[in-house]
């Protein structure tokens, strides 16, 4: 079973780097990271040797960039018909979903790792908190994984990549803003307080922020992993339901 997943992951990652998608994504991601960190957050003027000014932008950058990676995951397979090859190989739908997700996550991890010059810069400038940098990256990586799982799910809903993209952006945006007062007050007009608390608790932001502060709370990790697990489960269910369509 693992060797099937491994083969699909390998194929997918090769696929990223065989197409311009990977390079465009990485270059845009790095440029935007640099722009927001140095030009908007004024990294140098802050005179603090940490990467808060860098990580704080990730939920917003990922909001557009991750769905652009995720939108092709299933929509493209369906449009080109290769899904019929993939899902008639001796794998279960769930294994294929997990494998494609892992590949995309590794790819985003590579893009994230390529921001290492920033780490070198803060070490050159001062004595940063190593723990906070590590948890910052970890938090960013998990956040990306959660976005990706949502994008993978919306990608399975349609063969149109644009629709998959928009659905993923809206879905992620909702989870970013879920705890924000304007959203909770809008919900309070028709939902019970218990429901609003539940929605607010689903928000990405508290979990992201606590990891940026250098705190690794197992609850945050469990939160991200359960979002991912739930979305991939839904993703599998959508693909399987299409079989009996």
């Amino acid at each position: 079973m693992f060797h099937y997943i491994k083969s699909i992951v390998k194929r997918e990652i090769k696929g990223y780097f065989n197409s311009p998608v990977a390079y465009v994504f990485i270059v845009i991601f790095l440029i935007l990271c640099g722009f927001f960190t140095f030009n908007v957050s004024n990294f140098y003027e802050a005179r603090i040797a940490d990467l808060r000014a860098f990580f704080v932008w990730h939920p917003w950058l990922f909001l557009f960039l991750i769905p652009s990676i995720a939108m092709r995951l299933w929509a493209e397979e369906r449009r080109s018909g290769t899904i019929e090859i993939l899902l008639t190989l001796p794998v279960t739908t769930g294994q294929a979903v997990i494998a494609k997700f892992i590949a995309a996550w590794i790819f985003v991890g590579i893009a994230l790792a390529l921001t290492f010059p920033l780490v070198i810069t803060v070490f050159y400038l001062g004595n940063p908190d190593v723990g906070a940098i590590i948890t910052g990256y970890l938090g960013s990586f998990f956040l990306a994984g959660a976005y990706l799982s949502i994008g993978s799910f919306t990608s399975a809903l349609t063969r149109n990549q644009v629709i998959a993209f928009i659905l993923a952006v809206v879905f992620c945006l909702f989870l970013v803003l879920a705890g924000w007062p304007p959203v909770t007050s809008a919900l309070s007009k028709f939902a019970s307080a218990g429901f609003i608390n539940f929605v607010a608790a689903l928000s990405f932001m508290p979990h992201f922020e606590s990891m940026q502060r250098g705190v690794i709370d197992s609850r945050d990790i469990i939160y991200y992993l359960s979002v991912i697990a739930f979305m991939l489960f839904a993703n599998t269910a959508v693909l399987n339901s299409r079989k009996s369509g």
């Binding site: 060797h3 008639t88 369509g245």
Partner: protein, 310 residues
């Protein structure tokens, strides 16, 4: 062996496949015929576990598509309609991926891939991205993908679609050869393919089987089957037709045209009777000058049209 039992598939109110049952044994090449939209691809997709039947089931080498989909998939190689292949991969890396998914590794994997590339005449494009290949090559790459693991069962949805006549011939020879020891289902709407490849054919229309048998047997369903076509020189047709019609077991005789200044007649037998020898000896006695004499086997296209347009 493939066993299809009361297989039914509905898409909303449309019944694409309606209570289909048949068995394909090892050593058989089954041609799956039918007009577009008859349910050929849908049936294949259910056998390959890509679609779930609404009711009924199918099994491949004893594994049931509902209970053991992964085991079922290990039994067959599948060429889907329109031969989808990952466009961003090279031919070689795509086949390597398929080989890995079929459980091969190391030198065995390399050997399988090389052999398959050889067999499917892909050697000169093996480093090319699939994207850049013509339709015929893509079709063969997808075909290669299906046979790479030498599966006991082959399910091929329009395997010669988009190939030029030479490639068609090669692929048919390949299928025919593999059919000797495998169980093969192929769908097609090219009727000549049935003659050159299939040991048996099923015609389906509106999701149901309307004819099932060897190509010869199907041909015998033609109303032309057993008819004699002959051309006779220098005899007035008014005297020939009544004479031919009066011969034993003859149902009907007519003039169907003219060729090289001779009248061409077609004589239809009464049901399942052999009239050729009666006509031959009668015409010889008359000392008529016969230029051509043919016993019609019947024509598949006519049978196809008859059974699918009812």
């Amino acid at each position: 062996m493939i066993e299809v039992k009361n297989l039914t598939k509905k898409f909303g109110s449309l019944t694409a496949v309606n209570n289909l049952s048949f068995i394909v044994n090892r050593g058989e090449v089954l041609g799956f015929l039918g007009p577009n939209g008859a349910g050929k691809s849908t049936t294949m997709r259910m056998i390959t576990c890509f679609l779930t039947p609404t009711s009924g089931t199918a099994s491949v080498n004893g594994f049931d598509v509902l209970n053991n989909p992964v085991d079922v998939r290990k039994q067959f190689g599948y060429l889907p309609e329109n031969a989808p292949v990952y466009p961003d991969m090279t031919v070689e890396s795509f086949l390597k991926f398929i080989g890995e998914m079929r459980g091969f590794s190391g030198t065995e994997l390399k050997k399988r891939v090389d052999d398959t590339i050889e067999k499917c005449f892909l050697k000169n494009v093996k480093h090319q991205t699939i994207d850049t290949l013509s339709k015929g090559y893509k079709q063969r790459v997808c075909f290669a993908q299906a046979i790479l693991h030498d599966p006991p069962v082959l399910i091929l949805d329009e395997p010669t679609d988009g190939l030029d006549p030479n490639q068609k011939h090669e692929v048919r020879q390949l299928i025919k050869k593999m059919g000797e020891e495998k169980c093969v289902i192929l769908s097609t709407h090219i009727l000549e393919e049935v003659d050159s490849v299939c040991s048996r054919a099923i015609i389906i229309a509106k999701g149901q089987i309307v004819a099932d048998g060897t190509p010869a047997k199907l041909r015998a369903m033609s109303k032309l089957h057993g008819a004699v076509t002959l051309s006779i020189h220098r005899v007035a047709k008014d005297s020939v037709i009544p004479f031919l019609a009066s011969l034993p077991d003859v149902y009907h005789a007519e003039r169907i045209g003219e060729k090289n200044n001779a009248n061409v007649y077609r004589v239809f037998p009464k049901e399942n009777k052999n009239i050729a020898h009666h006509i031959a000896s009668a015409v010889r006695e008359k000392k008529w000058e016969v230029e051509e004499f043919n016993i019609e086997e019947g024509r598949l296209d006519e049978v196809f049209r008859n059974v699918t347009t009812k």
